[in-house]
């Protein structure tokens, strides 16, 4: 089977809120196998730029184009190719951890695969608890599972280690390292440890 090569081309992207420019004319290209960390001070627009590249927000100017093996992927279909973690993304509090995973994965993942990830992130015994009773660290672990459960070729992580304790961070970072090859990894962070998981760094602001 032919290996799929994804490319995300960011060209002269600018974002302005009212009359204030958050950033201007940002251009770079991400391809399968690359990992890029986006660093910069608070308010510099890291999360906004990540959301623009992921297709969640629109830029004020510039374009973001997605392609797989040279054929263009329409913007509204790109969500199916990506995993996303962000403080603005919330799973359903009324559902259990397991129900949220099933909602995200459908029938694409086996019970063993789901339980394997839950065990790895120490959530197996909490899988049937409503998210209302999860701590913020447990929710963050679940968000990570939801982002990677469908094995997407493109990963967008906005401060993935937020609220995690030391052991949670260790599990997370080792998992990111294990899945990174063969994917596009784009991470917005100010944590040196997280930034070092990526091969390149882009500083904003």
């Amino acid at each position: 089977m032919e290996e799929k090569k994804y490319t995300i081309r960011i060209e002269a992207v600018s974002k302005r809120f009212n009359r204030q420019h958050l950033f201007r004319d940002i251009s770079f290209t991400l391809g399968t196998g690359t990992s890029l960390s986006l660093t910069g001070p608070n308010g510099s627009g890291k999360s906004t730029l990540m959301q623009i590249i992921a297709g969640i927000q629109s830029p004020t100017r510039g374009t973001v184009a997605y392609s797989c093996n040279g054929s263009e992927i329409p913007k509204n279909e790109f969500f199916r190719h990506m995993g996303f973690i962000s403080p603005v993304l919330n799973p359903y509090d009324e559902l259990t951890g397991y129900e949220n995973i099933i909602f995200s994965a459908g029938k694409k993942r086996s019970e063993e695969e789901i339980n394997g990830l839950l065990e790895k992130f120490q959530l197996y015994e909490h899988r049937d608890k409503s998210l209302r009773f999860y701590s913020s660290g447990m929710k963050q672990r679940l968000k990570y599972i939801l982002a990677v459960i469908n094995d997407p070729p493109v990963l967008f992580f906005d401060e993935p280690g937020t609220n995690l304790d030391r052991s949670g961070k260790d599990i997370l970072y080792s998992h990111i390292e294990s899945i990174r090859p063969g994917k596009i990894l784009f991470m917005a962070t100010n944590e040196k440890e997280e930034s070092s998981l990526c091969m390149e760094e882009y500083r904003i602001g």
Binding site: N76, F79, V88, L89, N90, E94, L95, F103, G106
Partner: protein, 220 residues
């Protein structure tokens, strides 16, 4: 897409069942309004046209209390992005539409028997009455689904939902009131033209909403 719709519906019913605030509010509103009207009249029966006007006003405001929440809740609890990442906009619209139709039919099944009991309605043409209630209910849910999505993106203002829904639903209410009145007054009334109007209206609204939903839901 069918699998996504079923998955979304299961999720919506689970969330609704575990947090019954919208259903409880709509049922409480319907029960209290019906009881209040019954007590205010002191058991004196209304003319048929007043009975049908009051019945559809209660149903309209039940819809205003309950039907926007399916979208507004996604915005308030900030789950709309999670939903969008996991479902296409077509399946989101269709699952919310089906949810609203079922939700409103359940509400009608509670409101109508209460109303008939408390106001001692004498229905002369039960078949037309039931079909009017059901098809009018489908019309209201179909019309308010896209409006609920618009209101949720505008910050979930409850009063805004009522204001923008009224002109869209006015023709439905108008015809529903007239048909309900005839079904209460005329024995053997069997003109189903208005029922066809309701179904056609629903079809047009659903088709337009389906085509426009993307522009309401997805930030371009």
């Amino acid at each position: 897409m069918v699998e996504e719709i079923v998955r979304n519906l299961k999720k919506d019913f689970r969330v609704e069942f575990r947090n019954r605030s919208a259903l409880n509010l709509a049922v409480a509103f319907a029960g209290i309004t019906t009881l209040a009207i019954s007590l205010a009249t002191g058991g004196v029966p209304f003319p048929a046209n007043i009975q049908s006007v009051v019945l559809w006003i209660i149903m309209f405001f039940c819809a205003m209390n309950g039907l926007a929440h399916i979208f507004v809740r996604e915005e308030e609890e900030r789950t709309s992005l999670f939903l969008s990442l996991n479902s296409s906009h077509e399946s989101i619209f269709l699952s919310k539409l089906i949810f609203n139709v079922i939700f409103f039919l359940v509400l009608q099944m509670i409101v109508c028997p209460l109303y008939i009991f408390f106001l001692q309605l004498q229905i002369k043409s039960p078949a037309v009455f039931i079909l009017t209630i059901l098809s009018g209910g489908i019309c209201i849910s179909a019309g308010t689904t896209i409006l609920g999505a618009m209101v949720s993106k505008a910050g979930g203002r409850g009063s805004l939902f009522t204001i923008i829904s009224f002109p869209v639903l006015l023709p439905v209410l108008w015809v529903a009131i007239a048909t309900t009145t005839r079904s209460l007054e005329d024995e053997g009334y069997s003109n189903y033209g208005n029922i066809i109007f309701f179904l056609a209206f629903s079809g047009v609204i659903i088709a337009i909403s389906f085509l426009l939903f993307r522009y309401v839901w997805v930030e371009e």
